[in-house]
Symmetry: C2
Subunit: 433 residues, 2 copies
């Protein structure tokens, strides 16, 4: 039984965790893989004093790893787009298998990378890129293989979920964000996390692996959580809902919905109970129904867990004498469908609307008739006399499922009314049925 | 690309579901498997009028399937021990790969079956046997491959979970069981489900796949839910806990804990929120921490989803030119450890105790001193004057973690007190930390 030699590129959070777990659990991992998995070389910009490298060759040039003939599997943990793309394509050209935790890379350059890998007959694995330590790519590509997957919905950014969880206590977004930054949950520049870009990277990958369509990150819709207020969170709760920052992908005959935005979910649903920095992905298949995968979406060793699961997969496949076993996106390239991402106006959803109405007689009737003209049915409506202030009163409406285009038109008309003050707050809602 | 030909043995609930999903989703499944998966033959005691067999050969003798040279994969869905064992061993002898949903078979005869399969170099897959449609065997054997798995805890019997969920409304066990039988959730003879035998089959398999130890069903401890009362459920809730029928496996230096029993779990933990017939398995690994897998644990197409995932796995492995890729129990047979199952008295747990005390002065002091002599620390204690009846009053105690032996000794002494009426109710509690 031949050893499998791994080259680690990037010795930061995930690289360090991968090094440590591979070393600590070497015996368990060998027992599972059926061969020894040996770290053959490590490269990163700066050496780490806190890790005992035990004589393993270290260089600062990551390209040393892909040029080392001893290395079977290149583990890309440097992050970012361009350098990672170059590194991975060069590794593939050199006939190395690749394991990466880089969702940005796969979401944006995945089609190109998989095509090159297919030609070179090497494996490219990216479990750690989506929901960290949760084996959700494996579950979607292999565990759900019998199913026509209809939709996937996930809490796939821990920072955002932490912030929304804390805001339930009535705290403002900005205050909680600052705290998350102090705790190290959020980056100094939080845009990637709170504006939904990171989640859209992961959702793009999940959707392609689930539906069998090419990666189309550039067409994903993203809406962040910075506009969410404790007021809306509290009123959603009163309606029996919780606000989560969800990535939602839905497969339709005419295309796929691919969208990240704050979403009301029923409080009674398990996914509403996923709090703090934890992640969860809900997958709906026509045979199995709903399954959910829950756990830590980030962290050094949690992410390393997924990186190493991919390495073991490569080792098991290679040492059992075959090459590629599971297609990159779950489906054979010839079976990928050319389904496009739908424009946001075409999606279907329920909606939470908060309208600031002037306290005039007949306002509610006007609002109701505008909604009705646009085919929008009301599920519940809330208005409390006690909230009347400066002649204005909030009206909160939860609609039935309708096309987003209708809602946008209705909102335009509502905002044009002199009886309505300012903008209408609109948050999408999902009932998962 | 060669077709893979599947022979289905047993056309009942799961067999019918497997037939229907394989037929309905043939194109999606072929796209994922990289080859056509064709039903080559079906055998079952009685034909099914409601399924259109479309010319596929049918026989009543299941051995026709394993003797058909066209069949690559034998799918055992007849259930039970002896006939299934014979069928599977004969299939292996004939060089067929085997997929089964039969947890009883694997838990009891798995060691023998895997040994035969190892020799014949064929795959035996059993995902559907554990938690139905949830890909938890895949997650444990592959997704968690980097981890030393420390413990696994699961709600792995839907009938029991349905009954306990309904009992939260104050209903008695017997009444809800009858309802579950009427609804088709529970068998006419509910022993397998409510006494924990079915869960112990699944737990045995999970533990072996997670820890890398041989299957040892005969040493699993089982305790059912028929003694649980609405009173204890309500008082557990008051303490912040919910009673679930859990299978718990824990890896220790000196052996493994393997036990199914009613268990208090913190209401704030996600697994406490898993209600009705649904299943969930919590896995704790040293690298990843806690992950949870949730979904339907039974049902025709939900179970078929897992059966077919296994078939696709076999097809992907075979058509990529290799034989066995993932070892039967997750670890290479040479890496299996000879760890035994520990006696129940050696397990460690927290405990909920309900003591019916006579309303005498000093009773509480006596109880407390007996507990303390046995090294048992009290986390909380509840006694309500309003519950005094016929001179007796219930005292409810939640202990810290302690060895079961200590608790048993303390209970013996408590029951010997003249101040205590009848038996002490003892339910184990887990805090998952
Ligand atoms: N952190 C998580 O919890 C997590 C979870 C899931 C996925 N991921 C993904 O995992 C990847 C790594 O994340 P991370 O958190 O480990 O990042 P990190 O801590 O910043 O580590 C990146 C490492 O790569 C080195 N590096 C970057 N570019 C390099 C280059 N061109 N040449 C040599 N070394 C280079 C960096 O060195 P310097 O420090 O000297 O720049 C650093 O040591 C990213 O794609 C990220 O999205 C992370
Ligand atoms: N049902 C679930 O949701 C579920 C979930 C997970 C796992 N499983 C497992 O899946 C397996 C099948 O369960 P099931 O619910 O599908 O059972 P089922 O509905 O009773 O189906 C079993 C089928 O096999 C046939 N059969 C049994 N012994 C036979 C023999 N010796 N020769 C020919 N035919 C035979 C039966 O025929 P007759 O009806 O004529 O006897 C019946 O059609 C079991 O191991 C079970 O534990 C079931």
């Amino acid at each position: 039984m031949k050893d499998v030699s791994v080259g680690i590129c990037g010795l930061g959070t995930v690289g360090g965790g991968t090094f440590n777990v591979l070393t600590r659990n070497a015996k368990i991992i060998a027992g599972r893989a059926g061969c020894n998995i040996r770290i053959g070389r490590v490269a990163s910009r700066t050496p780490r004093e806190d890790i005992d490298m035990g004589g393993i060759p270290f260089s600062t040039d990551i390209f040393d790893v892909i040029n080392d003939p001893d290395i079977d599997v290149v583990v890309e943990l440097i992050g970012g787009y361009e350098a990672a793309r170059e590194l991975v394509l060069a590794a593939i050209k050199n006939g190395k298998h690749v394991v990466t935790a880089n969702k940005a890379l796969i979401a944006v350059h995945g089609n190109e990378i998989f095509e090159a890998a297919e030609k070179a007959n090497v494996i490219v694995a990216y479990e750690a890129g989506v929901a960290g330590g949760i084996p959700v790519i494996k579950s979607v590509r292999e565990g759900m293989a019998a199913n026509r997957i209809d939709w996937i919905a996930g809490i796939i950014n821990g920072t955002g979920n932490y912030i929304l969880t804390e805001m339930r206590a009535g705290r403002e977004f900005a205050e909680v964000l600052k705290e998350a930054q102090d705790l190290g949950y959020a980056e100094a520049d939080p845009t990637f996390d709170v504006e939904g870009i990171d989640a859209a990277h992961k959702l793009t990958i999940l959707a392609s692996a689930g539906f069998g369509v090419p990666l189309q990150f550039e067409r994903a819709y993203t809406e962040g959580i910075s506009q969410i207020t404790p007021y809306d969170i509290a009123h959603a709760e009163l309606l029996g809902y919780r606000i989560k920052h969800l990535g939602i992908a839905r497969r339709r005959e005419d295309g796929i919905e691919l969208r990240v935005h704050p979403t009301l979910v029923p409080r009674s649903h398990l996914i509403a109970q996923v709090d703090g920095v934890l992640n969860a992905v809900l997958v709906d298949g026509d045979a199995v129904g709903q399954t959910m995968y829950y756990g830590p979406g980030a962290g050094d060793e949690a992410t390393a867990s997924a990186v190493i699961a991919d390495i073991v997969d490569v080792a098991r496949t290679v040492s059992s004498g075959s090459s590629q076993r599971v297609p990159y996106l779950g489906f054979d390239p010839s079976a990928l469908e050319d389904l496009g991402v739908l424009p946001m106006e075409d999606i279907q959803s329920a909606y939470y609307l908060r309208i600031t109405a002037m306290d005039h007689p007949g306002v509610l009737a006007k609002v109701a008739s505008i909604l009705s003209e646009h085919g929008i049915n009301i599920e519940s409506i809330m208005q409390k006399e006690s909230e009347l202030k400066d002649g204005r009163i909030p009206v909160i409406i939860l609609t039935h499922t309708v096309q987003e285009r209708q809602v946008n038109r209705a909102i335009e008309e509502l905002e044009a009314l002199t009886d309505i003050d300012g903008q209408v707050v609109r948050i999408r809602a999902e009932n998962f049925n």
